[in-house]
Symmetry: C2
Amino acid sequence: MIIEKIDKSRFTPEIFNIQSFGTAFADHMLVCSYKDGKWGEPIIKPYGKLEFTPAMSVAHYGQGIFEGMKAYKGSEGDVFLFRPEKNFERMNKSAVRLDMPEIPEEIFMEGLKALVDLDRQWVPDIYGMSLYLRPVMFATEEAITARSANEYLFVILTAVAPNYYNKPLSVKVADRYSRAANGGVGYAKAAGNYAGSFYPTHIAREEGYDQVIWTDDATHTLIEEAGTMNVMVRIGDKLLTAPTSERILNGVTRDSMIELAKSSGIDIEVRKITVEEVYNAHKSGELKEVFGVGTAVVVNNYVAVGYGDERLELPDLPLEESYGKSLKKKLVDLQMGISEDPFGWRIKVEEKLVEA
Amino acid sequence: MIIEKIDKSRFTPEIFNIQSFGTAFADHMLVCSYKDGKWGEPIIKPYGKLEFTPAMSVAHYGQGIFEGMKAYKGSEGDVFLFRPEKNFERMNKSAVRLDMPEIPEEIFMEGLKALVDLDRQWVPDIYGMSLYLRPVMFATEEAITARSANEYLFVILTAVAPNYYNKPLSVKVADRYSRAANGGVGYAKAAGNYAGSFYPTHIAREEGYDQVIWTDDATHTLIEEAGTMNVMVRIGDKLLTAPTSERILNGVTRDSMIELAKSSGIDIEVRKITVEEVYNAHKSGELKEVFGVGTAVVVNNYVAVGYGDERLELPDLPLEESYGKSLKKKLVDLQMGISEDPFGWRIKVEEKLVEA
């Protein structure tokens, strides 16, 4: 690994006041090129622009995949990653589906730790805040022909993360547009999945909602994801979430929430959820909570679910009565080193891993 | 429009011997930026690299759309575009579905003509060859947050086009993977559609085929597209092609082939085609031709169609007996100015449209 340190850090404590997500980049980034069938040496260098041809294939054919992770700072100043091996595994599953080369574990994991160590002052020591970590790989080959590229760039970017959504969201159940096909790329963190979701979200926003609850593309009767998150539904005192599938992303936060729910004695069931049962549960007063779970947002308890022309309002439960809010607190406490970690999810970033 | 001419042209006549598609870029490109809710002034400048941040949103969220077109040179040295207004219209349909800004007609059409005029020596005067034109738009905003970008770049690239496929192809009918969802982006020329198709194509190649015939994602019983092309099937003396839909691209070559078939007295029907009827037609000896149609390849008559473990071989009909080959010749003759153009499809690129 080559380390090219920035001459003078751009860090100021005011950066922790930022309100927008994904725009306050830390001093350094990691870049690593793939060419001639092999990965080159990773380089940590100052964050900034690079030269690319507008013929680079990701802009034309969409071979782009990414991961979303966070680094947290505990009260002792220790910096933690959260289950990074899950992101590494999923990144390579995405790579296979998009016909891209897999990243070696060493480049991903050691690169990530070295980068976070070097920019550890950028990790906020503020409850609920973090340094967002964005491994991304995209096709850079100079060729406008519709085939898998032969050249790629793997990059890790980091940016200070405020609370992603500073207000509770309302969501519209998709009855026209879809996110994923059977036999498609829905389970991958593929760039194209996001591009395809923006217009339906735009339409939902015009109808007074913030995001879309995605349903199966064939019948729109099954609840699958919400916005860019997995979705959980509480009917009575039972918590439900859909099984992952080739259409549904295997979210790290989703998996962690399932484990936390189980260890908290919450009755959680992983099974298909129909739009109809959610609608009926609202009518009977049994629909207590619907929330999205994902790395960026952690947990967002929705205030309303739109179904056709109806807006199903949800109660605003206090923390101690809400599964979503109480599990969110447990998860963030664990991530920040406030609570015990019986699962072994927290990985401390050692200092001075790299000699600069 | 700003024109920055190259100091010394890179053109040599040997470039017309190129065998690979989409890599021999002409001297100039057009670039135009979208920012703060509006398009800037288009600039024609020497083709080359530009500076981009690796946080540019297309690499993460896939907002990228493109068009494929060709410029042809006739025997008198005239340079022609082919139905460019169809590509302009489709580009903006793609833009709407990907929640991207629409391109003004003037920037697209006048930019295209000025660029082709300036680089007209790069248009081969060789039968069947052309200068491939690639309008592309992608998100450039420096923000890793999952929403539509606020900044885009529209670029027109041009590259010398040899024959795209120098051999007849064989295709495998998809029975596991899919290209498009109901309510998805299949009808758009969206970057992510291509990325999602590469792995299934990779698998088909391992089974001895070149490309995939895409079927509907729910049942895999309907024939929809082939590789990156529309598909036509000839059973007996009837030519069939699937109606366009939200899952199927509205190809300009497809549309032109339908018109040419009609004017040639060929019995063509636009209707759903089942995998079963194609299979049964092969068994009864009635399956005469299956071919892909698209701008890059024009027409490619397949030599075999794979269905499950069976390889259905197709006859190699001579030009005068083949719908695919004879319609291809009619189309290329029209595009190159060899034959009459009763449809008004050919647009001559006037010389000296731009003062350099």
